[in-house]
């Protein structure tokens, strides 16, 4: 399937792309556009104004994708708290990791293009997810 989002990726869009590829559509192919009008007709848009998979009722797009595809894995929702705070900074969650993640992704976006960003951030989110998965199994922070 084809998926489209705004060019100039940052935390919410890289996290969504990872989530989609890993839990929704393994064959996902991503296109980056500058304007909502450029979304190809066969692509599902995300994290863009006025589309379903976007910010809604205070949720960031990552949370919206989790809800839409009924992904109930608690570790994913832990990642969602971090992505939410990194993206929205509205203090809905206490997620001290958010600031670090925001800086890392922002820095990467200064030295790499969008397609490369997806390749680089994929393993980062894999690791973050694995960490949160182990933490929820152990009931404490893994060492």
């Amino acid at each position: 399937m084809k998926w489209a989002t705004r060019a100039g990726l940052h935390v919410d869009r890289t996290a969504c792309a990872w989530l989609i590829r890993r839990f929704v559509d393994e064959q996902a192919e991503f296109v980056f556009v500058d304007d909502p009008d450029q979304v190809p007709p066969d692509a599902t848009p995300f994290d863009m104004r006025g589309v379903e998979l976007s910010h809604h009722a205070g949720d960031c797009s990552f949370e919206t994708v989790l809800r839409r595809y009924e992904l109930e894995d608690p570790a994913l929702w832990e990642v969602a708290r971090i992505v939410h705070e990194a993206d929205l900074e509205d203090e809905r969650f206490d997620a001290p990791e958010a600031r670090g993640l925001d800086v890392l992704i922002r820095g990467l976006s200064m030295t790499h293009g969008d397609a490369q960003m997806l390749e680089l951030t994929g393993p980062l989110y894999d690791g973050l997810y694995e960490y949160k998965r182990r933490a929820s199994m152990l009931g404490r922070e893994p060492s």
Partner: protein, 173 residues
């Protein structure tokens, strides 16, 4: 006090000729229900926007400020209102300076409040000062996020909070 500071400080460092770009959000929300109006107002406050007139706000343009106002525009639409996002250039440099100075004065006042509280807590030294420190650090971070034209009070507030940290450490030792 406020007027004095406004007059004597070199408020804004901006290029003299070219005006920068700003992102504008024009919006209208139904009077009732009041909850969405309040939510939008809170978000605008958190973003540190310049209120131009009722229902028209501005931020200096970058990818982040633009995105923030675009999401807010969607919030307004979802709440049954109308909204438009514009990219604009102030007609004159003076107009831009006034906008920036207004924003700067607003955050300067918030930084001064942090400085005053930090100094009071350092002098007081009660066990509650530790909680005050944590709260002031968070507050400082919040102000920094909406600080688009940093005033000198920013550094003052940072130093006051660092001094409080040092004072608490000394007392604990």
């Amino acid at each position: 006090m406020l007027t004095f500071v406004t007059v004597v400080t070199p408020l804004v460092m901006l290029p003299a000729v070219d005006q920068g770009l700003w992102v504008l959000l024009a919006y209208r929300l139904p009077r009732e229900p009041s909850a969405p109006r309040l939510a939008v107002w809170r978000k605008l406050k958190r973003l540190g926007v310049a209120q131009l007139v009722d229902g028209l706000v501005a931020l200096p343009l970058d990818s982040r400020t633009r995105e923030q106002l675009e999401w807010l525009a969607d919030d307004v639409l979802e709440a049954g209102g109308e909204s438009w996002v514009w990219i604009a250039r102030p007609g004159t440099a003076a107009q831009e300076r006034a906008l920036a100075a207004g924003l700067q004065t607003a955050v300067a006042e918030q930084y001064r409040a942090v400085s005053a509280e930090a100094r009071a807590a350092a002098a007081d030294g009660s066990p509650a000062s530790r909680r005050t420190l944590a709260r002031l650090r968070r507050q400082l971070e919040r102000i920094r996020r909406r600080d688009h034209f940093p005033p000198f009070e920013r550094e003052e507030a940072q130093r006051a909070v660092e001094a409080l940290t040092a004072a608490l450490e000394q007392r604990a030792a």
